[in-house]
C-alpha cells in the first residue's frame, strides 16, 4: 500500500482502521508502522471529521413526539379489560338513557295529547260562553 491509497481509505472510511475494508487492513497497518508520522497526520485529519460527525449521531426528541410514540405503544391487558368494562358500562348507560328518554318522550306525547284535548274543549266552551255572554 502506498500513501495515496492510505489517504483514500482514510478519506472514505475515517480514522478507525477497524472500519476499513477487511482485505486492506493488514496492509494499512504495515504502512502505518513504516510511516508513523505520515499515518498519524492522515488519521488525525480523518478523525477530526469523524468526531464532528459523531456530534450529530443522536438527536433528542421533544416531549410532543415522545408522547405521540408512547400513546401508540401496547397497553397492559388490565387496561384493556378496564377500558372494555368502561365501554360496556357506557353503552349500557347510553342504552338506559335512550330508553328512559324514549319512554319520557312517549309519556310526554300522551300527556300533551290529553291536555290538548281538555283545553281544546275548554277553548270551545270559552268561545261558546263569550258568545252567549255577548
Amino acid at each position: 500500500m502506498d500513501l495515496q491509497r492510505f489517504e483514500m481509505l482514510a478519506e472514505a472510511w475515517g480514522a478507525d482502521l477497524a472500519r476499513w475494508p477487511q482485505p486492506e487492513r493488514d496492509a494499512a497497518e504495515v504502512f502505518a508502522g513504516m510511516h508513523p508520522d505520515v499515518a498519524r497526520r492522515v488519521l488525525a485529519q480523518a478523525g477530526t471529521l469523524d468526531a464532528a460527525l459523531d456530534a450529530a449521531r443522536d438527536v433528542q426528541a421533544g416531549d410532543l413526539l415522545a408522547a405521540r410514540i408512547r400513546r401508540a405503544a401496547p397497553k397492559p391487558a388490565r387496561t384493556l379489560v378496564w377500558r372494555g368494562a368502561m365501554a360496556a358500562s357506557l353503552a349500557l348507560a347510553v342504552g338506559l338513557g335512550a330508553g328512559y328518554a324514549g319512554a319520557a318522550a312517549a309519556a310526554s306525547d300522551v300527556d300533551s295529547a290529553y291536555f290538548t284535548g281538555v283545553f281544546g274543549d275548554l277553548d270551545a266552551d270559552w268561545a261558546e260562553w263569550t258568545e252567549n255572554g255577548a
Binding site: D2, L3, Q4, E7, M8, L9, A10, E11, A12, W13, G14, R19, P21, Q22, V38, R41, V42, A44, Q45, A46, T48, L49, D50, A52, L53, A55, A56, R57, D58, V59, Q60, A61, G62, D63, L64, L65, A66, R68, I69, R70, A72, A73, P74, K75, P76, A77, T79
Partner: protein, 207 residues
C-alpha cells in the same frame, strides 16, 4: 483471539436475549420497558431520519412510524440476528428511502434542501449546536453521498452490505464516501470552523 471471539459471541447472544425479553415486556404494555426502549433508541432513530431527510418534521414522522412498527411486532419478536436498534435503523432507512423517492418523483412538492429553511420542531431546538450544524452541512450533500456516509459511518455497515443497499459497486461506494466526506469537511470549515479546525484541506499525497 478465539477466546475474544467466544466472549464477543456470548455477549452478543446475551444482548439478543435481553432484547427478546424487553420486547416481551413491551408487548404486555410494561411502561418501564416502553420507556427504556424509547430512551435508548429514539435519539438514534431521530438522528438517522434528520440526517437522511434534512427536514425535522418529516424526521419526526419517520421516527414515530418506526416505533409504531416496532410496537406492532413486539409480541412476535424472537432472538434473531439483529439487535432491536439495528432492526429499527433498517426500518427507518427504508422509510427515509421511500420519502426521498417520493420527493424525486414529485419535485414540486419536495421540501427545501437546507435544513434551516424547513420548519423547526422542538427536536431541533433541543439538539446541540454542533449537532445542528453537522446535520445542516450533511443536508447540503448530494443524496447518494449523504446516504453512503449514513450507512458506513453512522450505521457502521461494511462496504459490501452498504454497496448492495445502494446498488452500486464497492469502488463506487468508496468514491461516494470520499467525495462526501471531503465536501462535508469544506462545508464545516466554512460554516463551523470550531468543529473542524484548520483541517479543511483534504490530505495531500506526499509520495
Amino acid at each position: 483471539m478465539a477466546r475474544n471471539d467466544s466472549h464477543t459471541g456470548a455477549a452478543r447472544a446475551a444482548g439478543l436475549q435481553a432484547d427478546a425479553e424487553l420486547m416481551a415486556r413491551i408487548a404486555e404494555g410494561d411502561s418501564a420497558a416502553i420507556a427504556a426502549l424509547m430512551e435508548r433508541a429514539l435519539p438514534r432513530v431521530l438522528g438517522l431520519a434528520r440526517r437522511m431527510l434534512g427536514d425535522p418534521v418529516e424526521a419526526e414522522d419517520v421516527a414515530q412510524e418506526t416505533f409504531e412498527r416496532t410496537w406492532r411486532v413486539a409480541d412476535r419478536w424472537r432472538p434473531g440476528e439483529a439487535r432491536i436498534e439495528t432492526w429499527m435503523s433498517r426500518i427507518a432507512i427504508n422509510l427515509c428511502h421511500d420519502r426521498l423517492r417520493r420527493r424525486r418523483e414529485t419535485p414540486v412538492a419536495s421540501p427545501p434542501e437546507r435544513a434551516d429553511a424547513a420548519p423547526r420542531s422542538d427536536n431541533v431546538i433541543a439538539a446541540g449546536q454542533a449537532s445542528a450544524r453537522v446535520i445542516e452541512a450533511l443536508s447540503e450533500l448530494p443524496e447518494r453521498q449523504r446516504t453512503a456516509i449514513e450507512l458506513c459511518h453512522f450505521q457502521e455497515m461494511g462496504n459490501i452490505e452498504a454497496a448492495d443497499m445502494l446498488d452500486i459497486s464497492v469502488e463506487a461506494l468508496e468514491s461516494l464516501l470520499a467525495r462526501g466526506r471531503r465536501k462535508l469537511r469544506e462545508l464545516l470549515a466554512a460554516e463551523a470552523p470550531e468543529l473542524i479546525g484548520d483541517l479543511a484541506a483534504p490530505a495531500q499525497s506526499e509520495g
